[in-house]
């Protein structure tokens, strides 16, 4: 039994650090969900999946018939409470792994993976501090696992999501976010579209800046916990703006992603 595997009952903030050899497992693709033109979710059946915490990731390893291998990390999108494991992948055109996962893989295919991995960028519903989530692009994925975990556990933790995308059609999980935000249980969602906005757009239309954070973020006196995930420049920019606003660095957790070969 792995501590953390049963999160959701989550009674402790202790990191999941149990000696446990991480082994490669074979999952099978039960379903593919096209989230945006360039982004798809792979919903996987993984026998003996040990469970995970919201915010963790898996390593995916692809093997060609001549033995050549490529390995990448992908955040888990599904809540710990979900029946199946889901990862969401953005297709990078000159990448190596992502064009395979988004384009080649079909339902029924097998995918080799190992996990869950990570104990730093993790949120459990037992944490009742006000929650601020800031996402850039596919940085929404681990934050979506947190939002789904929050919903699945019936948590009323006041939560604000600020989500930066290039255009409306690039917004991942749009319908689900709209639905969850309208439930009236303390989740609010603010979008900013940095490149292209539809006619009549009432959200933000610029990169995240101090004025935007001042409107969206919790007052620092409420002692919020913050998770920021996205491309490196966005993550570093937002983290330093928040520190300038008086947030304690220890209350800001960050995860950068970038094209390490895609």
């Amino acid at each position: 039994m792995i501590p953390g595997a049963s999160s959701g009952t989550g009674e402790t903030d202790k990191p999941t650090s149990t000696p446990q050899v991480l082994r490669w497992q074979i999952g099978s693709v039960a379903e593919l969900v096209q989230e945006t033109p360039r982004v798809a979710s792979l919903v996987l059946d993984v026998p003996d999946w040990p469970g995970h915490d919201a915010g963790q990731h898996v390593d995916v390893r692809l093997t060609a018939d001549d033995g050549y291998q490529a390995e990448r990390s992908y955040s888990i999108a599904s809540a710990p409470e979900d029946r199946r494991l889901a990862i969401t992948v953005e297709r990078l055109e000159d990448g190596e792994v992502s064009p395979y996962l988004v384009g080649e893989v079909r339902a029924g295919d097998k995918v080799e993976l190992r996990g869950p991995i990570g104990g730093y960028f993790v949120w459990k519903a037992s944490d009742e501090r006000p929650l601020l989530l800031v996402a850039g692009g596919s940085g929404i994925v681990p934050l979506m696992a947190m939002i789904r975990h929050r919903a699945a556990t019936g948590s009323k933790t006041p939560t604000r999501l600020l989500y930066s995308s290039r255009s409306l059609e690039d917004v991942i999980y749009k319908a689900e976010l709209d639905r969850l935000a309208s439930a009236g249980d303390g989740l609010t969602v603010a979008h900013t579209l940095t490149r292209k906005q539809p006619e009549g757009w009432t959200g933000y239309s610029r990169r995240i800046d101090t004025a935007m954070l001042a409107e969206v973020a919790w007052p620092k006196g409420q002692m919020p916990i913050v998770y920021v995930c996205g491309p490196t420049p966005l993550v570093e920019g937002v983290a330093s703006l928040l520190v300038d606003m008086g947030y304690g660095p220890a209350s800001i957790k960050t995860e950068r992603f970038g094209p390490t070969g895609g």
Binding site: W24, I26, L62, T63, A64, D65, G67, Y68, A70, D94, G95, E96, Y100, E104, D109, K110, V111, E112, G261
Partner: protein, 169 residues
């Protein structure tokens, strides 16, 4: 190995070609960028290149002085230890013969060091990590001094044709 990912080939290009491609390498057409740290930002007014170590009179060039040295253009294939090779890359610069011109030294080895702290023991025609990107100078030394990667598993010599990637190769 048991598992194979159906339909996965990878981004690798031609591995079949010729006497021009060292063993275990594949050819790329793009230009992968490798980096062990942030790109150093050195104002040209502060940039210098030095030759030091086992010589009586260390030499030092400012950017303006260095740019006045005679330059050469060479076309070379490069082989990265992470297994990509790129053919016919064009380089312009100052020949090491120009740098060492008139220098008397008994030193048999060199260390190249760079802005950003990277070091390696310089020898041409080897794997590409043997080339420091933001070079700041060359030190002439009597004993071979392993650099940033050579102390941590990578082969001290690094001949791509003998696949000398790691210690013990």
């Amino acid at each position: 190995m048991g598992f194979i990912s159906r339909g996965f080939r990878g981004k690798r290009r031609d591995t079949a070609s010729s006497s021009r491609l060292p063993p275990g390498q594949y050819v790329v057409t793009d230009y992968p960028v490798l980096s062990a740290g942030p790109t150093p930002r050195i104002p040209l007014s502060e940039w210098t290149f030095v030759l030091e170590g086992e010589i009586d009179q260390p030499k030092k060039w400012t950017w303006e002085e260095f740019r006045k040295l005679p330059t050469e253009q060479v076309t070379k294939d490069i082989h990265c230890v992470t297994k990509w090779s790129k053919f016919d890359t064009v380089w312009t610069g100052v020949s090491i013969d120009t740098i060492l011109d008139g220098v008397e030294t008994a030193a048999e080895y060199t260390v190249q060091f760079s802005y950003g702290g990277y070091t390696t023991n310089l020898i041409p025609h080897l794997y590409f990590w043997k080339s420091a990107k933001w070079i700041r100078g060359i030190r002439l030394v009597n004993e071979d001094q392993p650099g940033f990667w050579e102390v941590n598993g990578y082969n001290n010599y690094g001949d791509p044709w003998r696949e000398q990637r790691y210690w013990g190769d």
